[in-house]
């Protein structure tokens, strides 16, 4: 039976190969190339500033080492990477987001080079954790962002609030959100996604998965506390999801003056300067929940395919790109934080507006990287909106628990 099945498979595979004219798989081990090579680099750029900065950094390395770098901008990085890996022609170096990291690491498609970099322990622990597979840090985190509370200082002053009122607990957050609410404006607006709401879970000492990432812990009392608190904010009228005030995300609601506070990441700094330069604002660390402070971190790593013939050169390039001085230059262009602790401290001294975001790094939680969790968490997202109209948080967590267990069990 077994042989028949595999014979049929081979036949089908051969027939399809002939039909589709597919090239040789990328599974065959290729010899390492020596001498000057041309590296293909795929990045999902946030904008012109980032593209220019990466181009300059990679170009400088190429000139120094007599290699060349061919930079490609991704429109849809996930899709393009999947296609490239499936077709056997992955780029030599690419931005890799945590969700896709797990998939590639599991199948052994990634070069595990992080330990060989200079000062491999200089990266923030939360970021190294995100890119760990089978107990080993695989790739080097490029940079990172965390969430903070962004406050409209004009609205703050109008409501008669002072520096001393800056919320440091959940109760204080609820109180200032109410104070800041007017008929035209919500006190707080945030996006209805696990990428924001998750911070409340961390502050209550809850999370979707257990510490080792093997079991689902979605329907825990801690998570319920967090969602109940969020629901209280939403139903009190002081808080709304960005969509409900007709904005695409928290930053838009904030920029258009439909909310006096929002929970967003470092990218807010650039977005406000570009789209809403008239708004006066400041960022503070997210208030602490019953279990203390907590926030979420977002990051990408520099991925290198395991079987790339230009592995050695790509590793050299990453070493150059994650050098503290180079990281600072890149961070300046992208508005994110350097992933090395040494570089980050220096960077923040120069850019004080980034300070509250960096402070979050201490108690930040990275994204879930388990395979199949994209759908599980987007299902959770689709239930969040219902919290504002009397949806049952317990039911929401139960569904999440079931879906998460099923995804982990596969």
């Amino acid at each position: 039976m077994r042989t028949r099945r595999s014979a049929a498979m081979t036949a089908a595979a051969l027939a399809l190969t002939a039909l589709a004219g597919c090239g040789q798989g990328f599974d065959s081990n290729q010899a390492a190339a020596s001498g000057p090579v041309s590296l293909s680099v795929l990045i999902g750029s946030s904008g012109d500033a980032e593209t220019q900065a990466v181009r300059a950094a990679t170009g400088a390395w190429a000139d120094r080492t007599h290699n060349s770098v061919n930079l490609t901008l991704a429109q849809d990085a996930k899709q393009q990477l999947s296609q490239a890996f499936a077709g056997g022609t992955p780029p030599d170096l690419f931005y890799l987001d945590p969700a896709m990291f797990a998939r590639l690491a599991k199948s052994g498609s990634l070069d595990s080079y992080a330990a060989a970099l200079p000062d491999p322990d200089g990266f923030y622990a939360t970021l190294r954790q995100t890119f760990t597979a089978n107990g080993k840090v695989v790739c080097a985190p490029k940079d990172f962002s965390t969430l903070a509370l962004v406050i409209d200082t004009d609205a703050w002053a109008q409501a008669g609030l002072t520096e001393a009122d800056t919320p440091t607990t959940w109760d204080q957050l609820a109180a200032v959100a109410t104070r800041l609410t007017t008929p035209q404006r919500k006190g707080l607006a945030l996006s209805d996604t696990h990428d924001r709401v998750g911070a409340f879970l961390v502050q209550a000492c809850g999370w979707y998965l257990s510490q080792d990432g093997r079991t689902a812990t979605a329907d825990s009392p801690e998570n319920l506390t967090a969602l109940r608190y969020l629901q209280k904010l939403l139903t009190s009228g002081s808080t709304a999801f960005a969509k409900q005030v007709d904005a695409g995300w928290g930053g838009e609601a904030f920029g258009k003056g439909r909310a006096a506070m929002t929970i967003e990441g470092n990218w807010m700094i650039g977005a406000l300067a570009k789209d809403y330069p008239d708004r006066h604002w400041k960022a503070v660390e997210l208030p602490a929940g019953p279990a203390g402070r907590g926030t979420l971190s977002f990051t990408n790593c520099w991925g290198i395919p395991a079987n790339s013939p230009h592995r050695a050169q790509a590793e050299q390039l990453v070493a150059a790109l994650t050098d503290p001085a180079q990281q600072t230059a890149l961070a300046k262009a992208t508005g994110t934080l350097p992933s090395r602790t040494s570089a980050a401290t220096a960077f923040v001294a120069e850019h004080p507006e980034q300070k509250p975001f960096l402070a979050g790094a201490e108690h930040a939680r990275g994204p879930v990287t388990a395979t199949g969790f994209d759908s599980v968490l987007s299902d959770f997202d689709s239930g969040l909106l219902g919290l504002s109209t009397g949806g049952d948080p317990e039911q929401l967590l139960k569904t999440l628990q079931r879906n998460a267990s099923q995804a982990l069990g596969k």
Binding site: M9, L19, A20, C22, S107, S375, S382, Q406
Partner: protein, 330 residues
Amino acid sequence: MRRRRESLAGWLFTTPALVLLGLFLLAPILLAVWVSLLDWDGTRNPLAGGVPFVGLDNYRDLLTQDGLLRTDFATSVRNTLYFVLLAVPAQTALAFGLAVAVNNKLLRGRTFFRTVFYFPSVTSSVAISVVFLFLFSGTGAVNGLLRLFGVDGPTWFADPRGLLHLLLGQPPRWMLDTRVFSLSLWDWVSGPSVAMTAVIVLVVWTTSGTFMLMYLAALQNLPEDVGEAALIDGATRWQRLREVTLPLLRPTTFLVMTLGLISTWQVFDQVYVMSQGNPAKTTLTPAYLSYQRAFGDGAFGTGAAIAITLTALILVLTWAQRRLFGEGRG
């Protein structure tokens, strides 16, 4: 001997077409079927071995296991059923109406109107979707228009409430508790959401141009004498339209409805651009779900299984429609 040479020549002439069809039609379909039998995460070549073969597991998870996947699939089928029920009759009726209007010989500037009505069909669906996002935003033109009539419009793309839900109010308990194929009975009957309605309006508007063209071509092919005979018999305009024109256009109507049915089941780009399945998954379509599973989760096997199941569904529905129309006989 001569016949054989002729048939050889025949094959020779059709070879280029066959090769093209095989390469761009048959091979991808076979490949999709093959992938739907694998647990393929998209990180290596699916033809080179080393990718686990799981047989019909992907289909089993999709159709028989109560879980997130089946719930999502049922939701997408529910959404599309409403989509088809509203969009297909609407676009067919609109296309027919437009065709009759621009076929009128007394209409001045016919060419102008034909171009105008056809325009949405040739414009990129992505561009139109973006324009609709603005039209249907909370402070957009549609709500502005509604405000003139004293109606406070919803934030269209953030409103997951079903239309029937809005009409009927709160659901009875038993409808919430009875579950059919992973969804509660109420989920099945609460109608397309407000957000989905906006997508339906868009699709009706963009596709009616193409279908108008088909009706127009058919109208111009109608034998004039039949219409004239009806005229002499004293039939009114309305009678001629209903008793003469419509029956004669039956094959076209069948074509338009079949094409409409197939394309509505495949709605993807509008959802991709405008809503990504939100709010509360009420604009999730099978095609978008397939994409999301494949490229979001890296479950390409599941994605392919959804696509193949969708194909089967479309084939069955097209066949059923053919039977209903009575085109299948003879």
